[in-house]
């Protein structure tokens, strides 16, 4: 019998739920591993999982400075989609989508991936054409996409104001039906458990304080729990990339850390069964299975490691929300929080060998890292195990900036706050 199943639940319920095992062990770190993954967030955990599952590399430690999943995997607004414009991104995120579609089975852990669709609203014919370009690009790569009319949108989301009387009337939208949401914490926990059951050591409260080197080559790390050696050291720390890479003497990267706030309202009876984005600003919202509207907008727009934002963005996001949902003005904001995003110079990620021998780098997720979790780990594991990128992350190099081979979805250039 699978460890987790309806039957297991029933059996445990009858015995007072006394026999459940820890979801992952709490091992002491060993003196050496084949691979150390720095960062016990979604990407680090999925990397460890796929190292074990796809490449048979199980002598692996995931080092997390706080509690597992304390970073962005537990701070995002849970949208999963592959509705990208540029082929390197579309291909990568579509692979991620396919992994998502089987993830709960694969992990024997229900990550509650709900393919309720992601709808991008267009507010002018020109914007609709722009979305059509992206949707057609998706369709030409085998990804699902549809254009919805205002009438269809109005039927889908009756609570939304689709009248012509608003400041930015809705002209239509681009829908990816297979996109949706997942339970963010469950993704971290599910990968952690999956990696743990395959032999990976997940070490929480273990902060990396430095790198061990042999000349240029990275040979391990020093941590708050002692020295740990490894043949390969992989860095998957998202917003903390700057801090960790500085420990290796690399203080300049095509990355800025910015704070992104997220919000949830009090729990309401469901009014929104789709993920919706607003096209005349930056706003996205979905409603969780608990009933809270989960939403967010732009990054605050300045370097920050504080996991805490400021008021102007809060007010902007609420104003954009009410532009779409004027009946929800009396609904209350319940919680807000911040996550630190590793904004890259073209808005696309980096998954690569190097930049030092023995080191592997995974970063630049901007605020889109959650949906990438499966493919990021899948590709990073491949890159680590084979010492060369998978074809899906071949474009996500660190030197693409210098070479001018950019993957700039928004066409904003090297201004991270605009990606």
């Amino acid at each position: 019998m699978a460890e987790y199943s309806a039957l297991a639940l029933l059996k445990n319920a009858l015995t007072g739920n006394k026999d459940w095992k820890p979801a992952w062990r709490k091992p002491e770190p060993k003196a050496a591993y084949d691979v150390i993954v720095i960062g016990g967030g979604g990407h680090g955990l999925s990397t460890a999982y796929y190292l074990a599952k796809e490449h048979g590399v199980t002598n692996v430690a995931v080092l997390e400075k706080g509690y597992l999943g304390s970073g962005n995997v537990g701070r995002n607004t849970t949208a999963v989609r592959s509705n990208y414009l540029l082929p390197p991104n579309t291909r990568f995120y579509e692979h991620s989508m396919k992994l998502w579609e089987n993830l709960s089975h694969d992990l024997n852990y229900n990550v509650m991936f709900s393919q309720r669709g992601v709808l991008n609203l267009a507010h002018s014919p020109a914007q609709l054409d722009d979305y059509a370009r992206r949707g057609n690009s998706m369709r030409h790569q085998g990804v699902d996409a549809e254009l919805l009319s205002v009438a269809e949108i109005s039927r889908l989301i009756p609570v939304m104001d689709t009248s012509k009387a608003t400041r930015f009337p809705v002209y239509g939208g681009l829908m990816q039906p297979r996109a949706g949401t997942a339970r963010h914490d469950a993704v971290a926990w599910g990968y952690a458990r999956g990696a743990d059951r395959r032999g990976v050591d997940i070490v929480e409260n273990c902060e990396v304080t430095g790198f061990l080197r042999d000349g240029d080559r990275i040979t391990g790390v020093t941590t708050s729990r002692g020295e740990i050696r490894a043949k390969k050291v992989a860095v998957a720390v998202a917003g903390s990339t700057g801090r960790v890479m500085q420990l290796a003497g690399i203080d300049r990267l095509p990355i800025e850390s910015h704070v992104l706030q997220a919000f949830v309202t009090e729990s309401l009876k469901p009014v929104l069964d789709t993920v919706v984005t607003f096209g005349m600003g930056h706003f996205y919202v979905s409603q969780s299975d608990k009933g809270g509207l989960v939403y967010g907008g732009d990054i605050d727009g300045y370097n920050s490691y504080a996991q805490r934002g400021n008021l102007p963005i809060v007010q902007e996001v609420m104003a954009e929300m009410l532009a779409l949902f004027p009946s929800l003005a009396g609904v209350r904001l319940l919680r807000s929080w911040g996550g630190v995003c590793d904004m890259s110079m073209d808005g696309s990620p980096i998954i690569t060998t190097g930049p030092l021998p023995g080191m592997y780098l995974n970063c630049g997720w901007c605020y889109g890292g959650f949906k990438a979790t499966p493919a990021s780990g899948f590709c990073f594991a491949h890159t680590i195990a084979r010492d060369e990128p998978h074809e899906l992350n071949a474009a996500f190099t660190l030197d693409r900036f210098h070479r001018g081979i950019l993957i700039d979805e928004k066409g904003q250039g090297a201004t991270p706050r605009l990606h």
């Binding site: 089975h105 709900s114 729990s267 609420m318 004027p326 250039g413």
Partner: protein, 997 residues
């Protein structure tokens, strides 16, 4: 139902009666009542249903920490869900409904969930619903099938669909001192600071200032505490430099000592006053802050602790003293500390009997024994309540001897009848704002509570917030805090004498009694002590994991009552101390904040609207307006019955046939002036501007630093040191910022000033074979013939008495002129031009015709200069000067920017004579069912009246090499497929003979 209203007492106005409804039934109350107090007074015990198990719930608290008694308040069709009944002030006509029940509050079918309690414990969802590996429900389908039903049970209150018609506003305030909380500590801090000449804001979340003084029953300075507070408030009102804000919850502590507060201006009124908003959001920049936010009492965790009738001791005291309501006639008390004894005394004074005091402590002080005697209550020390009886109201409790060592109860159990149970698990200072400000709280073993840490920002604390639970201490701390934020000094202060009930607030370190049955930690989310232990068993032991795995503290009350009990249970399971487990970091908001108040004036008015000076003329003359960014621009001037295509084709034909005019006021316009202006433009543009003669204009292209095309437009040399730069409408702001950055940061030595003059000029472009004739008939003061006004020439003259500046340049491909005048005269000049054009059939044209003519000419706009294309991609390589460096010149030749497979600009002609759409892709071979092999996409499309064909501009891989080749348009989204020919982007008059004339 029996009335539980006392004969006298409380601060309610017994001479007036208020009528309201709850779940359709009519009730009465008095001014000063909350919905909770009025319903309790009417004998209501059942207020709501919990989230998961739908258990019947009453009122636990009397304030903002209420987890159970949530209601929906209705104003007409506008619904406000999830409001704690303890925070609703009743008014005539108030309509409230209970939530999360079907079909009714009393008979709720969801209560069946309780039967599956053990099954749907913490983590339930993660462990099932994965579905079959194969078959029709594989993948995510099974989960989504189940989710459909799970979502039906989701949520508490129901939001409405009717747009909220209330007004919300934001207010900015600046003060020297913000005092949060108006209990004795806050009042004293505010008065001390005010006396020291400080500008003070005092914010109180309750309707009446005074905090605990309003219900403590104490005597301060020989008068009742409430009178003492009222006097202090009157004193404060005398200061012009003090603003008192009742009904105002300070909920956020942001950087720079910016705090945010929600003032509920209208909620307590039958109708919102016309000159007042419903909610007012205060953004307060405070020199310093005094946090006098008090403390929140905690419940104890034991089986049946959620039964309606179980209430925090302090809440019971408050209902008795402040509202004249008794939570029961025959009550029992269950406590781990002294403060509940005082609550029982208050109830006795108000007319209720305390039959039993159950204290987990093996022994209590003589003072407490004396109180028990005075109450004539049986005192059971070393005992615990292990069960409660009753359905929708409490009927009795079961007590048993308590073993502190194990936290369990054993021995002889007794049933005792009681219709109310007052519980106290000690007090937690309300440190939320301090935590938001970034400080880590410190655990105090004596008080069994987290105390505020050393301030990291400009705040100081006073009173119960600091763990100083006696009123005398609070007053002293309030004065001290007031002096501290006023820079010392102040008057000497004689503290008033406080007469109070004896008692030590230090509780026994017992928060849970382990016994059979569901013991609730988080009431609203139905998180039980067993759930916490299950989380421990499965390794979810850090505070955040506990919270996330069990949903403890994630409900609308944000764990105000459950946080410390939850930590205590986890600590016990781990065999660690509470601070070793950690504490949750509090985040904004302290309590729920209406979205409307955050959007404030922008609710219903998201962004400003930009209108050109001729806007009204366009609307009056039948223009269909088109939203372009913030601008409104004419799309077409349609005749009745015309389609958009018919209209723009007519406008285009008229322009190419005789003359047309278009409003170009939206173009970005930047005055670039100063001795180094020409040099600056040479560095900014890829082409040369220092060689441009005065009185001439030139088309310019800018790159970004990374070598990608940024913006284009004409720049006019009006004088040796005086240029007028035009930009695209969309990029006006970005170009301005770009120029300012380089002048300030990179080249501060250049003597150049840039000024945005977009809104100062109105612009009209008039073009077509007869355009010059029209101008000649209306322009005075200058000739406009080919000699005076050659291509790219500039002249100054007048039109109908208005000074104008005219530049001969062309976007349409016709001989055309841009006529600029002061913005206020835009319509005047426009009308004069229309008048002059009458003999020539001059037509106004909109964006569609503008776009059509530019597509015919192959001119690029933002659709092609999209932040990814280079000058060479757009065949603008000829504009890249080799004589000088310019922004982007160093980076533009990198390998990725000169690769042969880059997308290049081409023209497309539909061979099937059917319309094309922007965003359609181009493929070499058509596969309608399985589209693939895109080589590029269409950026802009139109019907070309000049060619009689549907044409488009496109960006194609290796574009120019494909000229003359056949391909297919592939637009699966709009199901448009068909053959096209790839051609040069110069469709029409490639030699430019028309515009050169």
């Amino acid at each position: 139902m029996t009335s539980r209203r006392t004969e006298t007492g409380g601060r309610i106005d017994r001479f007036r009666t208020i009528r309201f409804t709850f779940d359709g039934a009519s009730y009465t109350g008095h001014p000063g009542d909350t919905l909770a107090s009025a319903l309790l007074a009417s004998g209501v015990s059942l207020f709501g249903r919990s989230f998961k198990y739908h258990r019947p719930r009453g009122v636990l608290t009397a304030g903002v920490d209420e987890p159970n008694a949530l209601v929906t308040v209705l104003r007409g069709d506008v619904r406000e869900p999830n409001v704690p009944a303890t925070m609703v002030e009743i008014h005539d006509g108030l309509v409230a409904e209970s939530q999360n029940r079907f079909p009714s509050l009393s008979w709720d079918i969801g209560a069946l969930n309780q039967l599956a309690g053990k099954l749907i414990s913490a983590g339930f969802y993660y462990k099932t619903f994965m579905g079959p590996v194969i078959g029709p429900l594989q993948g995510t389908r099974f989960w989504m099938f189940c989710e459909h039903f799970i979502r039906r049970a989701a949520g508490l209150g129901r939001a409405g669909k009717a747009p909220d018609t209330a007004r919300y506003e934001n207010m900015n305030a600046f003060c020297d001192v913000l005092v949060v909380g108006s209990g004795p500590a806050g009042l004293m801090a505010a008065r001390t600071a005010a006396e020291a000449g400080k500008r003070v804001i005092l914010a109180e979340l309750d309707p009446v200032l005074g905090g605990s003084a309003n219900w403590s029953g104490e005597t301060i300075g020989e008068v009742p505490a409430a009178d003492w507070a009222a006097e202090a408030i009157r004193d404060l009102q005398e200061f012009d430099s003090v603003r008192l804000l009742p009904r105002t919850t300070v909920w956020g502590y942001y950087d720079g000592n910016s705090l945010v507060a929600l003032e509920r201006v209208g909620d307590h009124k039958e109708r919102f006053a016309t000159d007042e908003p419903r909610h007012r959001q205060w953004t307060i920049r405070a020199g310093s802050v005094v946090l006098a936010t008090g403390a929140l009492e905690r419940p104890l965790v034991f089986p049946g602790n959620d039964r309606p009738g179980v209430m925090l001791a302090s809440a019971a005291k408050r209902y008795a003293n402040e509202f004249g309501v008794l939570p029961g006639d025959k009550v029992a008390v269950f406590t781990n500390n002294d403060t509940a004894y005082g609550a029982a005394l208050a109830l006795k004074n108000a007319g209720a009997r305390t039959v039993l005091i159950v204290d987990v402590r093996a022994d209590v002080s003589a003072d407490m024994r004396a109180i028990a005697n005075e109450l004539e209550a049986e005192l059971l020390t070393g005992h615990a309540v292990v069960a409660t009886e009753g359905g929708k109201a409490l009927s009795g409790v079961t007590v048993q001897p308590f073993q502190a060592a194990t936290g369990t109860a054993s021995g002889e159990a007794r049933n005792i009848h009681a219709d109310g149970l007052l519980v106290s698990g000690g007090w937690s200072p309300a440190i939320h704002l301090a935590s938001q400000a970034g400080a880590r709280p410190e655990w105090d073993d004596g008080l069994q509570a987290f105390l505020p840490p050393q301030p990291t920002r400009k705040w100081t604390g006073a009173g119960a917030f600091n763990g100083a639970f006696s009123t005398a201490e609070s007053i002293a701390q309030g004065v001290a805090a007031g002096m501290a934020v006023s820079g010392g000094g102040g008057q000497r202060f004689e503290p008033p004498a406080v007469v109070t009930v004896a008692g030590d607030p230090k509780p026994a370190p017992v928060l849970e009694i382990r016994a059979d049955g569901k013991s609730f930690v988080d009431f609203q989310h139905d998180v039980t002590a067993d759930d916490v232990r299950l989380a421990h068993r499965e390794g979810f032991v850090s505070v955040e994991h506990l919270k996330r795995y069990t949903t403890l503290g994630m409900a609308t009350d944000q764990g105000k009552t459950s946080n410390v009990p939850g930590l205590a249970i986890m600590a016990a399971a781990l065999g660690k101390s509470i601070p070793e487990v950690g504490t949750t970091r509090f985040r904004p908001p302290f309590a729920g904040v209406s979205l409307g108040s955050l959007a404030a004036e922008r609710f219903g008015d998201l962004r400003p609207e930009r209108l050109t000076p001729m806007h009204d003329w366009h609307v009056e003359h039948g223009a269909t307006m088109y939203s372009a960014g913030l601008w409104h621009r004419p799309q077409i001037y349609g005749d009745p019955g015309e389609t958009i295509e018919q209209a723009y084709v007519r406008e285009t034909r008229a322009t190419r046939g005789s003359a047309g005019i278009v409003d170009v006021s939206t173009l970005g316009k930047i005055a670039v002036q100063g001795p180094d202006a020409a040099e600056f433009l040479d560095r900014v543009y890829t082409n040369m501007f220092s060689t441009l003669p005065v009185g001439k204009a030139r088309y310019g292209l800018m790159l970004r630093e990374d070598g990608i095309a940024f913006d284009d437009g004409t720049t006019w040399r009006l004088g040796e040191r005086d240029f007028l730069m035009t930009t695209t409408t969309a990029n006006a702001g970005k170009v301005m910022q770009h120029l300012e950055y380089f002048l300030d940061v990179i080249w501060p030595d250049l003597k150049v000033a840039v000024t945005s003059v977009t809104d100062q000029w109105a612009g009209a472009a008039i073009g077509g074979p007869n355009a010059r004739k029209i101008l000649q008939s209306v322009v005075t003061g200058t000739p406009v013939d080919d000699t005076a006004l050659p291509f790219m020439g500039i002249v100054h003259g007048e039109i109908d008495g208005v000074p104008v500046m005219i530049c001969r340049l062309s976007f349409s491909g016709e001989m055309a002129f841009e006529v600029y005048c002061g913005a206020d005269w835009g319509t005047h000049v426009w009308e004069a031009l229309m008048q002059a054009g009458k003999p020539y059939g001059l037509v106004p044209y909109g964006l569609e015709a503008l776009g059509t003519m530019r597509i015919e000419k192959g001119h690029v706009t933002g659709a092609e200069i999209d932040g990814r294309t280079t000058a060479r991609d757009l065949h603008l390589g000829w504009m890249l000067s080799k004589k000088k460096p310019f922004i982007g010149s160093a980076m533009m030749d990198r390998e990725g920017l000169i690769a042969s497979d880059r997308l290049q600009l081409v023209g497309i002609v539909a061979l099937d004579n059917r319309p094309l759409s922007g965003g359609a892709h181009i493929v070499e071979e058509l596969h309608e069912g399985n589209p693939h092999g895109s080589i590029g996409y269409l950026t802009a499309c139109c019907y070309s009246p000049s060619l009689g064909k549907y044409i488009a501009l496109a960006l194609l891989e290796g574009g120019k090499a494909r000229h003359g080749k056949r391909a297919f348009v592939s637009d699966p989204l709009r199901k448009r497929f068909g053959p096209v020919e790839i051609v040069s982007h110069h469709f029409f008059d490639p030699e430019g003979t028309r515009m050169h004339g």
